[in-house]
C-alpha cells in the first residue's frame, strides 16, 4: 500500500513538474511576446510622431507659400483679376490651383487660377453650393499660423482637396476705391499630402494613415477607417461610454500615444496618434492590425516540443519505473526463493545426511556392544556399508548439482568402451535385481561402435541414475527392461545412442512430472519415502544430458510404470579395435527371446561365423543330435540361462549326454552367474557371458573357448599377482593412511607413508629404481600438495623413478580435478572414499603395465 502511494506520488510529482515546466515556458514566451508587443507599439508610436513631423513640415511649407501670396496681394491694391494673374504666374505644380473667393457677399464666387475642368476659359468658381471649407472668422492671421481647410471636393474639378487659406483684401474691379474682403485658397489635392506619407520600410506596409480634425471627422482616411468620423468608427465596433468618448477626443487632440481597438472585422488593431503641432485640432492617426504588426514570437514548436519531450520522459520514466520495479520484485522473489531453497536445502541435507549418519553411528554402537556376536557385527557392518555408500552418493550428488547450478560443470571427453560402460552398468544393477527378484532385460541393438569419445564418467552417471531409479522404484518381482540402441547420427563422425529404460514401478503423477527435474523433488508417496534418495538424481541427469546436447524424455503413468528415453549423439573414437573374426566357426545360438536371438545372430554373422539358432532347449538338443548324425558338430554352443521350458544349465547337462554334444558351451545370463556358476560348471558349461551381449564380448568369449584360454569370471577377484608390490602412499591424514595401509596389507601389498608431497618427492629421489612400484598421491597436503609433488617427481633426474605410475587418491572428485591431476603428470585418479576394488584394479593395471 505504501509502495503504491509512493508510486502515485512520484507520478503526480512528474505530472506537476511537467505542467509546471510547460506553464513556465508558456508564461516566459508570453512575457517575451508582451515585451515584443510593447516594443512594437513604442516603435509604431515613434513612427507616427515622425509622420506627424513630416505632415507638419509639409503643411507649414504650403502655408508659407499661401502666406507669401497673401502678403504680396495685401501689400498693394489689386483687383481679383490681378491677384489671380499674379498667383497664376507663381504656379509650379499643374495639380495645384488657387481660388480667390469673395466673402463679403453671399455669392461665395470668385476666380480660379486654372480653368474649370473641361473648359479653357471658365475661371469663375463658386463655393455657394458647398460653402467655404473653412470659416474665415476662424482663420488666424498672424504669420506662421496654419489655416488649412477640411478635406472637400474641389468644385472646379471634383477632386478631393485641401486648401491653405489666407484672408486678403482686394480692390473692387469696378470701383478701385472700394475694397473687397476675400479668401485666398491654395487648393491642393489630398493625394499630394498622402504621397508625403511614405513609410521608410516594409515594416509598416500594411499601416494606414488618417488625418482627423478637432471633431474627429476625417480629413483624409485610409480604407480600413470606417464612417466619416473616427470616434464614430470607434463606437461602432468598441464599447465606450459617453465619458469615454470625451476622454478619447481629448487624448486625440492633445497628446500622442496609442491604444488598441477592434476594427470592423472584429480584429484587434493598434492606433497610434499624434496631434499635428502646426495646426491645432488636427491629429494624425496611424492604424495597423495587430496581426500585421506583431508576428508571434512564441515558438509554439518549442513549447510543443518541450511538452512532447516531457510527456515522453514521463511515460518513459513510468514505464522504466514499472519495468524496474517488476525486475526488483522478480529479483526479490528469486532471492526469497533462493533463500527458501537454501533453507530447504540445508533442512533436506540435514535430514538426508543425518539419516545414514544415524544408521552408521547407531550400528557402530551396536557392533561395539556385540563384539562377541559375529553375526550381529557382520550384519551391522554390512548395514554400515550400505549407509556409507548412500551417504557418499548423496555427497557426490550434492557436489554435482552444485557444479551444475554454478555452471562450472564441464565435460572431460576420453576414449571409452561402451561395452565396459554397459558391463559396469549391469554389474552395478545386479545386486538390486537379485534382491528384488526383478525381471531384468538388457538388450543391445546394433551397437557397432564400441569405442566412443565422450565424458565416460558423466555418461555412466546418466545411465546409472536412470537405471537405478527404475530398479529402486520397481516393486519386487517387477520388471525392468533396458534397451541400448545405436542409430545413425545427423552429425558426422557421431553415433546416436538411444538408451531406454522401462519399468513397471510405481510411476509418477502428471503434477510431479512437471517439476521432476528440479532439485530435491521427490514424489509425495509413502512408497517413495521408503526408498532412499536425495531427489537430486534426475536433476543432475537432466543437466548432464543437456550439457552433452542430448535429450531426455519420460513417459509415466501412476502405478503402471515409467519409461525414460535418453538420446545422445556421441563422437566415435579414433581407437581401432582388434580385428575380430570367427571364420569357419559353426555356432548354435539358443534363446527363447527372439529379439535377443536375432541380435546375437547378427553379431556372429558380422564375425563371419556360421550361425544356427534354436528358440528352446529341446530344439537345441535336437539340432545337436541332428548335426552329430551328419558326422558334424557345432564349434560352439551359446545357451541362454533363463528359458521357460528348460534352463541353460539343464540344456548343457543334457547336451553333454548326447553323442557329439561335447562342443564348448557358453551360458548367457542377464544376472550375476555366481549363483549358478558351480552347477553350470558341473553340468559342463565352459564359460559365461553377461547380457547384454556385445560383438566384442561375444568374440572374446568364443575365442577364449575355442583356444582354450578362457579366463574364469572369478579371476577378476584374484589379486594374488599383485601381492608383494611396494606402494608409496602420500597421505597427510593419519586415519586415511591407516585405512589404506590395512587394505593393501590385506592383499599382501607393502605400503610406505609420505606425510606430504615433499616427503614423497624426497623418498623417491633417494630411492633406487624398483623400490616402489607406484605412488598413491593425495592432492591436498601441507608443505607440498600432490599436484606439485607429481610435477617435481616427473622432473627427477632418474628416468626410471620419474616415470613411476602415480595415481591420485583424493576427495577432489570433479572432472576438472581429475584433469588437473592428469595434467600434472599423474596416471590415474581414485576418488575418496577409496573403494578397495578400484584400488586393486588400478594396482593390477600397473602390474600388467597398462599404466
Amino acid at each position: 500500500m505504501q509502495t503504491a502511494n509512493r508510486r502515485y506520488l512520484i507520478v503526480l510529482v512528474n505530472v506537476a513538474v511537467m505542467i509546471g515546466i510547460i506553464g513556465f515556458v508558456s508564461l516566459y514566451a508570453q512575457r517575451a511576446a508582451n515585451d515584443s508587443i510593447a516594443s512594437e507599439v513604442n516603435q509604431f508610436e515613434t513612427s507616427t510622431v515622425t509622420l506627424e513631423r513630416v505632415t507638419a513640415n509639409y503643411l507649414e511649407g504650403e502655408q508659407d507659400i499661401c502666406d507669401v501670396w497673401a502678403n504680396y496681394i495685401n501689400s498693394r491694391p489689386m483687383t481679383i483679376d490681378e491677384a489671380v494673374s499674379f498667383i497664376r504666374s507663381s504656379h509650379v505644380s499643374p495639380d495645384n490651383a488657387a481660388h480667390i473667393v469673395l466673402t463679403d457677399d453671399d455669392s461665395l464666387e470668385g476666380l480660379s487660377t486654372r480653368p474649370k475642368m473641361g473648359t479653357k476659359d471658365d475661371y469663375v468658381v463658386s463655393y455657394k453650393a458647398i460653402g467655404l471649407p473653412m470659416r474665415p472668422d476662424k482663420m488666424v492671421e498672424q504669420d506662421g499660423a496654419i489655416n488649412v481647410s477640411r478635406s472637400y471636393t474641389n468644385p472646379f474639378n471634383g477632386i478631393q482637396s485641401l486648401a491653405f487659406c489666407n484672408k486678403i483684401t482686394l480692390a473692387d474691379s469696378r470701383d478701385a476705391s472700394k475694397m473687397r474682403e476675400a479668401v485666398l485658397l491654395r487648393v491642393i489635392p489630398t493625394e499630394r499630402l498622402e504621397e508625403k506619407w511614405v513609410f521608410p520600410s516594409d515594416r509598416y506596409k500594411d499601416a494606414e494613415v488618417a488625418l482627423i480634425d478637432i471633431d474627429s471627422n476625417y480629413i483624409i482616411k485610409g480604407r480600413d477607417y470606417k464612417n466619416n468620423n473616427f470616434v464614430e468608427f470607434y463606437k461602432s465596433y468598441n464599447k465606450i461610454d459617453v465619458a469615454g468618448v470625451e476622454e478619447l477626443k481629448e487624448r486625440l487632440a492633445t497628446q500622442s500615444g496609442s491604444f488598441f481597438m477592434l476594427n470592423s472585422r472584429d480584429k484587434e488593431c493598434l492606433i497610434a496618434y499624434a496631434p499635428i503641432s502646426a495646426n491645432q485640432g488636427w491629429t494624425i492617426l496611424k492604424y495597423i492590425e495587430m496581426s500585421n504588426l506583431h508576428q508571434s514570437t512564441i515558438d509554439w514548436f518549442l513549447v510543443f516540443g518541450v511538452a512532447c519531450a516531457l510527456l515522453f520522459l514521463l511515460v518513459f520514466d513510468m514505464t522504466f519505473m514499472n519495468w524496474f520495479n517488476a525486475r526488483l520484485n522478480e529479483a526479490a522473489k528469486e532471492a526469497e526463493a533462493a533463500n527458501r531453497a537454501k533453507s530447504d536445502f540445508l533442512s533436506t541435507m540435514s535430514h538426508d545426511i543425518r539419516t545414514p549418519m544415524n544408521a552408521i553411528l547407531g550400528l557402530t554402537t551396536i557392533a561395539k556392544r556385540s563384539v562377541d556376536d559375529p553375526a550381529v557385527v557382520k550384519d551391522s557392518l554390512h548395514k554400515i556399508g550400505l549407509a556409507s555408500n548412500h551417504l557418499l552418493t548423496l555427497i557426490n550428488d550434492i557436489l554435482d548439482i552444485s557444479k551444475v547450478e554454478s555452471g562450472k560443470l564441464s565435460l572431460t571427453p576420453v576414449t571409452f568402451s561402451i561395452v565396459e560402460v554397459t558391463e559396469n552398468l549391469v554389474n552395478i544393477s545386479q545386486p538390486m535385481v537379485k534382491d528384488k527378484s526383478i525381471d531384468f532385460h538388457f538388450r543391445i541393438n546394433a551397437v557397432e561402435h564400441e569405442y566412443l569419445f565422450a565424458d565416460q564418467l558423466r555418461i555412466n552417471q546418466v545411465l546409472i541414475n536412470i537405471l537405478s531409479n527404475a530398479l529402486k522404484y520397481t516393486e519386487p518381482h517387477g520388471s525392468v527392461a533396458v534397451d541400448l540402441q545405436e542409430l545413425t547420427s545427423d552429425a558426422p563422425d557421431k553415433v546416436r545412442l538411444v538408451y531406454r529404460v522401462a519399468d513397471t514401478g510405481m510411476g509418477m503423477s502428471e503434477e510431479f512430472m512437471e517439476h521432476m527435474y528440479e532439485s530435491f523433488s521427490r514424489q509425495t508417496d509413502s512408497r517413495v519415502n521408503s526408498v532412499q534418495g536425495t531427489g537430486l538424481g534426475l536433476a543432475i541427469t537432466k543437466q548432464m544430458v543437456d550439457l552433452m546436447g542430448g535429450t531426455i524424455e519420460c513417459a509415466s503413468k501412476l502405478n503402471e510404470g515409467t519409461t525414460f528415453t535418453v538420446t545422445l549423439d556421441v563422437p566415435i573414437a579414433e581407437h581401432e579395435g582388434e580385428e575380430m573374426t570367427l571364420e569357419s566357426v559353426d555356432a548354435l545360438l539358443v534363446d527363447d527371446d527372439e529379439a535377443q536371438l536375432e541380435t546375437a545372430r547378427y553379431m556372429l554373422n558380422a564375425l563371419d561365423a556360421h550361425v544356427e539358432v534354436a528358440s528352446s532347449g529341446a530344439q537345441a538338443l535336437e539340432m545337436v543330435r541332428a548335426k552329430h548324425s551328419l558326422n558334424n558338430g557345432y564349434g560352439i554352443v551359446i545357451v541362454d540361462w533363463k528359458m521357460p521350458d528348460m534352463d541353460g544349465v539343464e540344456v548343457v547337462r543334457r547336451m553333454r549326454t548326447l553323442d557329439g554334444g561335447q562342443a564348448p558351451t557358453i551360458l548367457i545370463s542377464a544376472y550375476d552367474w555366481s549363483d549358478i556358476e558351480e552347477s553350470a560348471k558341473e553340468a559342463g558349461a565352459d564359460g559365461f557371458i553377461s547380457k547384454p551381449m556385445f560383438k566384442t564380448t561375444l568374440y572374446r568369449a568364443i575365442n577364449e573357448r575355442l583356444h582354450l584360454s578362457a579366463t574364469s569370471a572369478a579371476g577378476e577377484d584374484d589379486h594374488s599377482d599383485i601381492a608383494g608390490m611396494h606402494v608409496l602412499v602420500a597421505e597427510d591424514n593419519d586415519i586415511n593412511w591407516e585405512i589404506i595401509e590395512m587394505l593393501l596389507e590385506m592383499h599382501g601389498i607393502e605400503a610406505t607413508r609420505a606425510e606430504n608431497g615433499q616427503v614423497a618427492v624426497d623418498l623417491l629421489a633417494s630411492s633406487s629404481p624398483g623400490d616402489y612400484d607406484l605412488v598413491f598421491m593425495d592432492v591436498q597436503m601441507p608443505v607440498m600438495n600432490g599436484v606439485e609433488a607429481t610435477k617435481a617427481i616427473r622432473v627427477l633426474p632418474d628416468g626410471r623413478i620419474s616415470t613411476i605410475p602415480i595415481i591420485a587418491t583424493t576427495a577432489d572428485a570433479f572432472s576438472e580435478d581429475v584433469a588437473k591431476c592428469m595434467d600434472a603428470g599423474m596416471n590415474g585418479h581414485i576418488a575418496k572414499p577409496l573403494d578397495i576394488k578400484v584400488v586393486l584394479k588400478e594396482i593390477g593395471k600397473v602390474k600388467e603395465g597398462k599404466l
Binding site: 475642368m117 458647398i130 468644385p155 472646379f156 513549447v303
Partner: protein, 441 residues
Amino acid sequence: MKKSVVRCLSVLSIAILLVALVACGGSPESSGSGTSTEQASEQKSFAPSLDTATKCSISVAGGYDNFEALEAEFDKFNEYYPDVELSYTKLDDYNNIVSTTLNTDNAPDIYFAFDYMLDGDQYNAVFEHAEDLSDPALGIDLSCVRPSLLCKDDAGACPMAPIFAGVSGILVNEDLFDKEKVNIPTTYDELLAACDAFNKAGYPTPILCYNEASAYGNLVGEIMYTDAVKNPETVEKLNALDPSAGEYMRPVLEKISDMVKQGCINLDVCNELEDGYNALILRFFEGDIPMALCSADTASGTAKRESQSEAFVAHPFAYALHPFTLTNEGACLLDKPSVQFAVNKEGKNLDMANEFMRFLVSPQELNDIARAKRLITVTPDLAYDGVYAPFSTIDSSRIISTREVGLSDDVTIQYRVAAYEVANGKTSIDKAIAGFGKYKL
C-alpha cells in the same frame, strides 16, 4: 487498480497537454478567420469569377457623409478578394460635381445615381459613363430587385442598380399607443381619431414633422401619386406645370388644412426643430411624441441616435415606421429608388467593379446593406427589418412605382410648397392652387 490509476494519470497528463497546446495555439487570427469562414459560408451563393489574388482599388463616390453600411460590404467582399482596396468618398455638392469628377483621372469606379438625373441634361455625363448593368455578360442578378424599382433608359439599358428604396411614413411610438389604448391608424379617419385621443391626453403634438417645404413631400406624396395613377391624363399637364393643373392639388391641400385644423400637427412644436433630420429624431426619442412624419432616410438615423438620446436611453420604447395615409382606402407604398449605383465603364478596374456589383446585388447583401443603413431594401423582402416590417402588410396592388407614374420633380415641388403654405396659414387653398407652376424650393 494500480495500473488503472497510472493509466488515468497518463491520460490526464496527455489531455492537459493537448488542452494547453490547443489553448496556447489559438490566436486572434485563427478566431478571426473562423468568423470569416462563417461569413463566407453565409455567402456561399457568391462565387468569385476573377482571380482572388487580384490587387486593385475600387472607389465609390456618393453624397452620403457616412456610409458604414457600404463599408461593411467592402469587408465582406474582401473575404473573397483580400487585396482589393475599396473606399467610399463623399463628394461635396454631389449632384453638381459628380459629372465633373467622372471626367477626371480620379473618377470613381462606382457612383451614386438617381432617377431624377435621367430628366436633367446637366446629368448627361452621369449616364454617359454608366455601364449597362443588365448586360447578361456581367452576371449581375437584377431579378432580386423589385421590378418597380428598376430603371431602364430608352434603349432598354439599365444604367444603375437600386441599392436602397425611398419611402415615407410615420415613426410610431408603439408604447404610447399601447399606453393610451389607441390603435395605430391605417386610414385617415383612424388618424384623426388617434390624433384626437392624443390631444385629449395632453401630448404636445400627435404628429411631429419638420416644418419646411422640402419635408412636405411626405404629406402630399400619397395623394399626388394615387390621383395621378387614377387619372393618368393629368400627368402630362402636371409635368408641363400648366397652371390649370393646380386644381389637381386641391384634395391634398384640403386634407392638410383639415389635419392642421383638427390638431393633428402642432406647428409650434414642429417649429422648435432646428435641424430637420437630427432634431426630429431626438425629439421623437423624448418619448412624448406619438407619431413623427418622416422619410426612410430620416428613419435610418434612428438606430445610431438611440444612444445619443439620454431620454431614450433612460426610457427606451418600441417604435417602427408605419405607412401613412390621408385616405380611407388604406396606405399605398410609393416605391421609388433612393440610392442607385452606377458603374463607370471607363473605370480603371472595371472588371472588379462589376464583380463587386455582382456580389452586392444579391438578396442577402442588399438586405444586409439596407438593414445596416436602416433603409428599405430593394428586394421583395420588405419585412427583413422590424422598423419597416409594417410596410410588408401593404397589398401588392397598392404599390405604386413613382418612376412609372412619371411625375417630374418640379411637380412634387409645386405640391410640397403649396402644402407648406397652406399648413402654415400663409395662403389659402385657392391661392395655393393658383400658384401652381410658380413654386420653387
